[in-house]
């Protein structure tokens, strides 16, 4: 009970709610770097996955990229990117973390968008083509709406993993909640460590739940729209 009480005391201490090492700052940093990483990963992976899925080619390449991505441990990625970031004059912290984690954010988005678009039934695509739709129209009005749930699930997996691994950025002097854990370990400040871990865990679970809710809303909206189409 003594430990939980001291964690509670740490949490309500107003000094821990302001300044550059305050909880709002660290949560903000963590959210910012996660968003930057996921957006960059999507910018790279979505067009690639959707495009390759549309032409139904390069299965082997896409699946291999996903497997290699899984084999690359996040800590190893951070370590390997560090010399490169130094050579480019990007220093420590934010940019090495982004450079290391974007490649890890790509595989879930890439595989899911590829599989989602590729697995749209051939009959449906044929019907659309028979109705005179162009390749672009088929992609826009048929394949993407059908693939949407799977694509979203890929983005969710990528986002949850990114929130989790962004914690490790603290090892290369990035901000975010990992700071509490790494600094807490270094100074044996276990209250700080525990609060940091708790907040990261909550953020990861929150990301998962947030995306799940978004996906439910999207599929419901999609369902309603297709019903409208049927009526008209």
């Amino acid at each position: 009970m003594g430990f939980l009480a001291s964690v509670g005391a740490w949490l309500v201490d107003p000094r821990h709610w302001s300044g550059s090492d305050g909880i709002p700052t660290r949560v903000g940093e963590h959210a910012l770097i996660s968003v930057v990483i996921v957006v960059l990963a999507c910018i790279i992976a979505l067009p690639l996955g959707v495009g390759l899925g549309h032409i139904r080619k390069a299965s082997f390449l896409t699946i291999s990229i996903a497997n290699v991505g899984r084999a690359l441990p996040s800590l190893a990625m951070l370590a390997l990117v560090l010399p490169l970031a130094f050579a480019l004059g990007l220093g420590l912290g934010f940019w090495p973390t982004v450079m290391a984690l974007v490649p890890l954010g790509i595989p879930p988005v890439l595989t899911n968008s590829f599989v989602g678009v590729k697995e749209v039934e051939a009959d449906v695509v044929d019907a659309a083509r028979g109705m005179g739709m162009s390749g672009w129209q088929i992609l826009r009005h048929v394949e993407l709406p059908i693939a949407a749930p799977l694509v979203m699930a890929g983005i969710r997996n990528s986002a949850v993993a990114t929130v989790a691994t962004a914690t490790l950025g603290a090892v290369v002097a990035s901000g975010g909640l990992g700071r509490y854990i790494v600094d807490g370990l270094a100074t044996q400040d276990y209250d700080k460590l525990f609060v940091g871990a708790l907040l990261v865990a909550l953020m990861a679970i929150g990301t998962e739940l947030g995306f799940a809710a978004l996906e439910r809303r999207m599929t419901r909206a999609g369902g309603e729209r297709s019903e409208l189409l049927r009526v008209s």
Partner: protein
């Protein structure tokens, strides 16, 4: 990592082979223990959840939450209870294997066709015989696929345990970051990637050997 330094100093590698071997061994033990314990727990949970389907939802919920908690956070949350020990590292590492393994074990057992089950029961198999001689062997490819994913992930995650003083190849990575010494970084990170690939390859071989029916009739 000053400009004049070479990316890898092979003389360092040559003079630290003993060190490298030690860390590699630690890494293997940490990973092997986690996979072994994780597989044992998952088999029990998976077999129970396929026998009593109502168990499946709570089991996947719990393992899903464990899977979502970031590894470093989970280690940190455990430190007040189990300290900077191998127990902390193993609890964390085992937690991450559960979701993948349980899902695949249940999916594998469920994929056994009902006719096969009926035939086995008709031949007088007991429940236990049905499980060990029919269901688990037929589920093996799916279980091994899960085991591959879990193993590759765990080899990578084990590097993180260096942050809680558990060595393994992660020790080199942290050391390299702290000393700005790229050779150690590359040795640690490179070997852990190679180890993941080797473990994956080994499991592919196991899959090939243990499912002779999948590739017997050729030529």
């Amino acid at each position: 990592m000053s400009p004049g330094d070479p990316f890898i100093r092979w003389d360092w590698v040559a003079s630290h082979l003993g060190d490298i071997w030690l860390r590699l061994e630690q890494h293997l033990v940490l990973t092997g223990l986690a996979i072994g314990i994780g597989l044992a727990i998952s088999l029990v949970a998976g077999i129970w959840s396929s026998r009593w389907p109502w168990l499946y939802a709570p089991v996947t919920w719990v393992s899903g939450v464990l899977y979502t908690i970031p590894s470093l956070a989970l280690f940190a949350l455990l430190i007040p209870i189990t300290g900077l020990s191998i127990v902390t590292a193993e609890i964390g590492l085992v937690s991450y294997t559960l979701l993948i393994l349980i899902r695949n074990i249940v999916a594998g057992i469920r994929s056994v066709p009902p006719e096969v089950r009926d035939a086995a029961l008709g031949m007088g198999c007991t429940r236990r015989q049905l499980l060990w001689r029919v269901e688990l062997p037929l589920a093996r490819p799916v279980i091994l696929a899960g085991l591959r994913v879990a193993t590759v992930t765990t080899v990578g995650l084990t590097t993180v345990t260096a942050l809680i003083g558990q060595g393994g190849l992660g020790y080199f990575i942290l050391d390299g970051i702290q000393r700005f010494f790229s050779t150690v970084l590359v040795v640690g990170a490179g070997l852990s990637v190679l180890l993941a690939m080797a473990a994956d390859g080994l499991l592919v071989l196991v899959e090939w050997w243990t499912t002779p029916w999948a590739h017997r009739r050729r030529g």
